[in-house]
Each structure stands twice: as C-alpha cells, then as structure tokens.
Amino acid sequence: MKKRIVSVLVVAAMTVGMLSGCGSSEKKSSEKDENTLTVWAWDQSFNIYAMKEAEKVYQKDHPDFKLNIVETGWDDMQTQLGTIVGAGNYDKLPDICLMQDFAYQKYVTTYPDLYQDITDCGVDWSEFAEGKLAASTVDGKHYGVPFDNGAEIACYRTDILKQAGYTIDDLTDIDWNRFIEIGKDVYDKTGYSLLSVQADSSDLIYQMLQSAGFGTWTEDGKPDLAGNENIKQCIEIYEEMKDANVLNVVNSWDEYVATFTSGKTAGVINGCWILASVQTAEDQSGKWALTDMPALPGVSSATNYSNQGGSTWAITQNCKNTELAEDFLASTFAGSTELYDTILPKSGAIATWLPASESDVYNEPQEFFGGQAIYAQIADFASKTPSVDLGVYYTEANKALATAIANVSGGSSIDSELKTAQETVEFNMNQQ
C-alpha cells in the first residue's frame, strides 16, 4: 500500500515539474521581439508559403526581420477573433492576419477597432484591380493589402470536347444559352456533364450575377432578393442545365472535387484557386484547356468575367510596430515582382498587384493545359471583372440563396423561394 502512495506522490511531483516547465517556456515564446511579426494564415502550400517567401524577400534589406506564422484555418480564425474581441483582449491578436474577401466588410463594420486603417501606408492603391480593392475598402479607407486573386475561370477537357466535335474556341466568349446547347450535345455524344456543382451552395449563382455587375443588395444596404429578375434568370439557367444533365449536382465539396479529378465531368467553372485541385489529377495533364466563363444572355451589362473568393492581408489594432508591418506589406505584396515570380509557379497564387502580371513568368506555357499561358490569361480576366459590393451580410445572403436553390430544385416556385430568402436575410440582419 505504501508503494501506491509513493507512486501517487511521484506522479504528482512529476506533473508539477512538467507544469512549471510549461509556464516558463510560455513566457519565453510570448516575449515580443521588435523585429518579429506574428501572422495568421491558413494554407501551407498557398498563403503560408507566400508569406514565407515574402519574409525572405524582405530579409534581404532587413536581416533582423522575422515572421512567426501561425497556421489558423478560416473557421477557427473566426472563432478566435470573436472570442478575443468579445473578451476585449486585443493584445492576443496577431500583427497581421489573412481575411477572406467576402467577410471583410462585416468584420470592419462589426468590429470597427479590429483592423488598422492603412490608407496612408505608402502603397500605391491604383496598382491593384479595382474590383479586388472594393472588398477591403470601407468608406474610402483601405483596411488591407490584397493578396490572391479569385478571377473566374472555365476549364474544359479538350479530349472529351473533341469526341463531341468541339474545341475550346467553341466555348470561349459564349453565353449560357450556347453553353447549354453545347453541353446537351456533349452529354448525348459522350455521356459526360460539362459542369458540376455542390448542392448546398449558391456560389455559381453569385458568379453569374457578378459577371454582369449585379449584386444582392440595394443602394442603401437592404437585401435585394425578392422579385430580383437577375437572380431569377440565373436560377432558371441553373435549373435548365440541371434538367438537361449539363450540370451534375453533387452533395459535398469532396464529391465536387472528385467529379473532375477522377474524370467524371468535362469541365470546371470557379474561382482560379480551383486550379490547384484540378491539377492534382496528374494523369490528365495536357488534356485541359482554360477560357473565360459564359455570359448572361440578353443582359446589356453582361461580361465573361467574374470572381469567386480571394483574400487580403490586414494589420490588426494590436500591432505595436505598425510602421514595420506596413513597410513589410508595401514592399512585398504591394511592391515586389520578385515575390510574385517566385510564388506563382509553385503555388499558383495569382497576383492582384497589377505590375506583377507583366512579368515573364506569367507568360510561361503550362504543360498541364497543353502549353497554354494560363496565368497571363487569368490576370487579364481579373482586370476585366466587374466590381460588385458583396455587402456586410454576404454569408447570410449566400446561405439563404443556397436554400432557395435547393427548394426550387425540389419543386417550389422561384418567386416564393426568393421571397422567403429575403425574409430570412432580413431576420438575420435584425438579430445582429
């Protein structure tokens, strides 16, 4: 019995030892070095990689400079930001954090003292695409340095198109009516759908809307869903494609990626970040080609260009060394072609900083796309994308619209579903 008591005491002593150890190491790591900036970002092979390269670029002139990059997923980041701001402990914020463009307006409006106004930080804002800049600009003040591009692309399997007697040129600069025509033909001849989409998502509708410069908000920030003829048209196109087997609707994101990586659909239309997923199917190398998306038919403002996603670097209120953070971002993400030349081939991160797209790297042929210089093309699409205000309550509207689409697919009328969506968004807005 004594042995047992002794062992309990030993364990207790050991744990106390471990605890005290943890305490002291914690102090060391939280001590802030003047030349170190903490960054939150979420993708090792994409934005974290880009940040690490930016660190190297900046270190050339500032040898003491260091970054402490903490990998934090977007969902987790929202929880953490919410907790930190809710508790009022701003000193727990990082110096720089990456923000999804669609959430920017909401965070800046809901937590006005979360991010710093960096309008006068030395960045030449005219060197960024206007559509991209709109996300991080509130009341004419800039709250972030834009990073990656979400320019809309359409990729197709040329081998499947060929079987049906089409080339990539037949799908370039077309409208959705023509797309459906070709899609039906491709399906009849080859059995492949031309496009796939995730069931509980309204992203495709948003992409169609933005291609013609349409949003889901009125001038004074009220939801503009009920009776919106533009949204109605997009949903009608969506339904028509689905009924004609041109559009393959799957249940989850994983299934969506699988439709093109395992060769079940002949095309992808999404933000250009989807390229990273497309290119995981190494066995399909050389079989893909890239072009612009279809335009809305019969609309005077219609274009073949849109946007989905993208992100922006923000400097938080907690940053003690604002000058350093501003200078770092201004001389890397908003001032270094070298940086973009390095990160493009390895991560496919396409710059929104316009001078970068003039570099030779953008014009290099890509083997996966049969030798097409896709990056120059995408940069070109980005510069033509209509600017749309996604609004403070983008997430709410997006979800409501997704529900509406699902119900329309189940047989409800578009008008009544859009009315319900409008009420849902209004309800959510009043809750906050």
Binding site: E26, Q44, S45, T83
Partner: protein
C-alpha cells in the same frame, strides 16, 4: 428450427451493424496508404503511398511535437481530473449535509451550460492570469467535471458504510480510508472515468484552439483541422494524421475495456 432461423437473423443484423461501424475505421487505414486522388476516387484496396504521405505530413506540419503536446495535456488532465473528481464525489456522498447538497445541485446544473457560452469569460480570465498557451490553461476548465463527480458519487453510494466505520475504529484517518479502502475497491470506476476523460481531453478542440495560439503548443485535433483548411486537401495525408491521432485512444480504450464495461454498469456488487 425456429431458433436457428432466429439466430440467423440475429447474425445477419449484427453483421450489418459490424460492417457499418467498422468500415469507416478500415477505410481510414486504407486511405492512409493511398494517394489523395485515389482516395477521392473511392479506391478500396491498400496502396503503397503511406511513406510519401508520411513525408508530406512531417514536411508540412509539426507532427510529433503536436503529438507529444496532446499526450502531455491529456495525461495531465486525466490524472488531475480523476484526483479532483473522485475526492469530490466521495466527499459529497460520505460527508453529507444540507449545504453540500445545495452545492451538489449547483455542480450538476453547470452541466447544462454549453461550453461555447463560457468561452469568452474563460478566455478573459485566463488571459489576465497569463495562462494562454500553457498546459495549466488547457486543463483547468476540465478538472472538475460534473459528470465525473456524479459518477464517483453514485458509486460511493454503493460503497458499504460498515467498511468505513470499521476502518475508523481501527484508527485509519479519513484520507487514509479514501486512499486505502475506497480507491482499491473502485478500480473499474476509475478506469471508466479515466477512459472518458482521456478521450474528451484528447479530442478537445474548441478550447485548445481558443487558448493555444502558438505553433509550439498545437495539439493533434488542431493539426488535423489545419490539414483541411487549405484550398486543396490531401486526403491521403489527412487520413494518415487521423490514423495516428486515433491510435492512443484506441490503445487506452482496449487496455481498459474490461474495467470500462464494469465501471459503466456499476462496480461494487
């Protein structure tokens, strides 16, 4: 004849249930050996890609330091939670009085408060105390768990009062009774409580994510979450990480399985 038919149906039913519950585990193991593209395509045979998945994983994530962090925090939480909760449960039952009963009700009521509601005030407190990014900060909220206290109290009810009285007469101190009489006869309840606490602590994600904001204090659930937060998910690598994360809980559960069942159904007969 009828009994044979009956048992055939029972076996078919059990067979289906077994497949449904075991298949995800099997699939996880298979997926860990395959390339991401093959996993997405639904390949159901073992591949040869496990070494590459492992290389990619350790190149991208601090795998073993996260694993050690998880082990460290979980062992600490389990050890201290068992000590605190067993003492509390025992004391609530053996030294009963009106005031303690009222406190016990408050303890039980705290079970009904969702953790999300406590998160912001807890974060505020812990950040004032300088406990963020520390093991103490991780374990403090789960030391006195109402569920464990209730478990220990219910089992202390079944502990014969005669033994305690006999021990008192023989001159054993109150703490001695707890240590030498109660604990040895409650092995199975300790095992059951240990398994539950271990699993909860090992899988604790939300709280860990809120207070650990440093790469060096990352735990396994946080690592897995990071793996799926990128724009492209490498499913082979992800499943390997999930497999590695599953192993310790599986070992603990199987080692204590015998006691676990006893503990849940009641220990003293």
């Amino acid at each position: 004849m009828t009994s044979k038919v009956k048992s055939t149906f029972i076996y078919i039913f059990l067979g289906i249930v077994t497949v449904v519950s075991v298949f995800p585990l099997l699939w996880m193991i298979i997926a860990a050996t395959n390339k991401s593209v093959d996993v997405i395509a639904g390949k159901l045979t073992f591949g040869t890609y496990i070494a590459e998945n492992y290389q990619n994983l350790i190149a991208q994530q601090p795998l073993w330091s996260s694993f050690l962090n998880s082990c460290k925090y979980t062992i600490l939480v389990t050890a201290f939670a068992l000590i605190v909760s067993s003492l509390a449960g025992y004391a609530f039952e053996i030294y009963r009085d009106k005031a303690k009963e009222k406190i016990y009700v408050v303890v039980l009521m705290s079970m009904m408060i969702p953790f999300v509601a406590l998160m912001v005030p807890l974060f505020r407190m812990y950040s004032k105390l300088g406990l963020l990014n520390s093991a103490v900060g991780f374990m403090l909220p789960s030391l006195a768990t109402p569920l464990l206290i209730m478990m220990f109290r219910t089992n202390a009810k079944a502990f014969p009062i005669d033994i305690i009285e006999a021990a008192r007469i023989d001159g054993l101190s109150e703490f001695g009774i707890f240590l030498r009489m109660y604990i040895p006869s409650m092995k199975s309840i300790f095992a059951a409580a240990g398994v539950v606490t271990f699993m909860n602590a090992w899988n604790n994600y939300l709280w860990a994510k809120v207070i650990m904001s440093d790469n060096t204090t990352q735990t396994m659930p946080m690592l897995i979450s990071n793996l799926i937060s990128g724009y492209v998910t490498d499913y082979g690598m992800l499943m390997l990480a999930v497999l590695i994360t599953t192993i310790p809980t599986a070992i603990v559960f199987f080692a204590l399985q015998k006691y676990f069942v006893e503990g849940i159904t009641g220990s003293v007969k």
